[in-house]
Symmetry: C2
Subunit: 495 residues, 2 copies
Amino acid sequence: MFRNEMPRYEILSEEAMETLDKGWRRIVSELGVEFALPEAVDYFEKAGQRVEGAKVFLDPEFVLEQVAKAPSEFDLQARNADNTVHIGGDHMVFAGVYGPPFVRRGDQRGDAHMEDFENFVRLGQSFPEMDSAGGTVVEPEDRPLDSRHLDMVYALQTLSDKPYMGSVISAENARDTIEMGKILFGKGSDPSVRGLTPPLDGPVSISLINCNSPLRWDDRMLSAMLEYNRANQAVVTTPFLLMGAMSPVSIPATLVQQMAEALSGIALTQLVQPGCPVVFGSFLSNTDMQSGSPSFGTPESAVGLLCTGQIARRFNLPWRSGGGLTSSQTPDAQAAYEALMTMLPTFLAGANFVMHAAGWLEGGLVSSYEKYIVDIEILRMLKHEFRPLEVHEDSLAFGAHEEVGSGGHFLGAAHTLEHFRTCFYRPLLSSTENFDRWSKNGGADAAERAGRIAQETLDDYEQPPIDDAVRDQLRDYVARRRIELGDEPIPSPSF
Amino acid sequence: MFRNEMPRYEILSEEAMETLDKGWRRIVSELGVEFALPEAVDYFEKAGQRVEGAKVFLDPEFVLEQVAKAPSEFDLQARNADNTVHIGGDHMVFAGVYGPPFVRRGDQRGDAHMEDFENFVRLGQSFPEMDSAGGTVVEPEDRPLDSRHLDMVYALQTLSDKPYMGSVISAENARDTIEMGKILFGKGSDPSVRGLTPPLDGPVSISLINCNSPLRWDDRMLSAMLEYNRANQAVVTTPFLLMGAMSPVSIPATLVQQMAEALSGIALTQLVQPGCPVVFGSFLSNTDMQSGSPSFGTPESAVGLLCTGQIARRFNLPWRSGGGLTSSQTPDAQAAYEALMTMLPTFLAGANFVMHAAGWLEGGLVSSYEKYIVDIEILRMLKHEFRPLEVHEDSLAFGAHEEVGSGGHFLGAAHTLEHFRTCFYRPLLSSTENFDRWSKNGGADAAERAGRIAQETLDDYEQPPIDDAVRDQLRDYVARRRIELGDEPIPSPSF
């Protein structure tokens, strides 16, 4: 797991922080935040906050008291203990793209299918750069809406032995995710006693709870969140901020809105279950005011990222942001510079949980096989770059200078021969071939080579072992629940 | 002109700096530095340094005394005073790619011609992101080697009214650059009195003096450098460090070598002409130890950049590094992430003079029209990003939140309507079009769109006005010198 021991790049002065601090306090207390789930409003009302219908007017000090109950770091367990990750501190955890209804492979773009879902889970499992395959790596449009979460969780649990993200469509779906987690972690021997199985020992799933920005938490996501909180499963409360649409066309205004939304959501989690694991989420970019389309990999989003890290640390919370975001329609130069324009600040700011770390294309509408590999290369480079530089007498290699002297070369120096295998970053995708060799080898650009690497990775994929009894219980659970949800039975997958 | 008022990202501890400091002192005093020009050696010997043949063993304190005479910042004049730039402090000056013998446009790659040279000067003139077209924007292979510098300087002086870089092939070429500078700046009314014209008031050219690393300064470049020093024209003394070939396979070892080389070169400039303008240069990347090829846009080179900035500031010197470097053969995803992997640290480190800021492809062998536009977009984004964020009461736009409330949108809010034209970065190249519109518009990727923008820019190019008499003098000078150098006369260019 990657620890970022390099300095954080912080750009907000103490004075700016104080101005922002006043801003969110004013929003939550004067404008209030809407919680579209009566149960959530009840929690606040019982705790003495002023309520008008679905709107809760929050005392900022009360919010901070609740927020202080949230853990500043926690472990997220994987079924393979070697893959358990730590969320918080200087740790950075990377998960794949989340949510696209479409998939792109080469020049083909179309609806995403369950087969694609499985493939992106396999890619997430295969690359050590990824700590989690993610959650909804694509929306499998060939499966019925009300039961596809079962297929997704099953694939995440069985094709990968890394941590996974849960379903957030409804309380019902969250309960399914939790029950399947219990089965996977040996707590759910009898699927017929759903809800009565012993609790999980800690978080085995992490789930994305988006705010319906501005200043509104929706009922379905909230009801899912409450289930996760009660089961001590991690959630990421995330303001969804495309400046110009969901927030004002000002970064400071958006930052205070983000604080108001994230902190109010986090306060609720701690009312439901004090000490339950929660991550300060941020999804902050801007609208292209010429086209009206969302715009990703922008300078504004990079600045927002740097500020968000500084803000989340102030509240002593682990935080989520960043990724390889882009508006580009293909895995071209734009896709690459926009992805890195987001991912490099992600490292500079030390984000703890990074969704969309690989595969994101076309504003998040598309999961791209080629872009996945481009992003893996970017991640590999940055993980190499963000290691403290060791400077000591030995590292100066004075002997090499003595050996080579003036005007010579170091290719055959003893120091070089000793270190050449490990001294530098070795690319996965990038080519340094000279033009003649590159041309003779077919003259493939990075996107074409990336497509090949993705396919080779899928060809070489090996499913991590899983206990047959556990797999059978999961299959039974999925089959039974699918029928309960009113969908036609289908054969269990072969994996 | 761009000032980088954001914080510098510094990664070397004081202890690490001290270790590096000891390192370069040991190299210059124990191993010595070779100066392959007897005149240069004489300067050091007369100043009391120990000399063995071409090798000079330097007292580190003596080096620092000389270095302290160099200005920490200076103006580089342009013939259009509005384009004069400041080198040093928090200023960042951007110049185009330098040196490629080949050119690439679309799928065509071939020898660079004078026409390409002129085109890349026109591009440098056209984009406000560029402070200088550069110098050898390509090597015009269709012109004779010994007089092509005249054609290049003439094109730089007349097609652009921004500062330019001089020829460094020989003392003779440097003298031509200086004389043509005098003509351009109204000092050289009579071309027959070459060398006797009044001196320039300050730097009107900046020239790249590379070290033949390791630890060797070559005679031709040194002789050019001495001419520039005596004429108070700026030079960039640049260790040329591809780790594994020209320096050890260790970043700290390379940093101390870089200090030894750059500082010894700078010391010489100040012996020749105390107070003459000089820039601490850095060109630091690594060899791909698998292919043996140079590798650009690497993590190592990014780390080297961050360290070099910190080191140069310690010596109170303006410094040069960075650019949009890549090993990629085409303007693809690799070209883009590698370029930004160098350019973003260039901003984080606050490089004062940035060569290769646009157009670099294929390890510097190729000037690419499309890559030029990709790099311009990257520069525009970073210049937007590296502006201090203004956080004050007004920027919180509380009124917009009051207006929109919970669950609404900001597209029509008064605050949005007031600011939408200028609130966000507006791309030149990047597309946010949705898939249908993008497809209907031809589905061009970033490289194809970049090619179109390059051509449109050239089509729209307007030559900046120049005094007819000055132009005639420059033409006469070029024509006369071409014959003196033994080449056939050719008609003066139409511009």
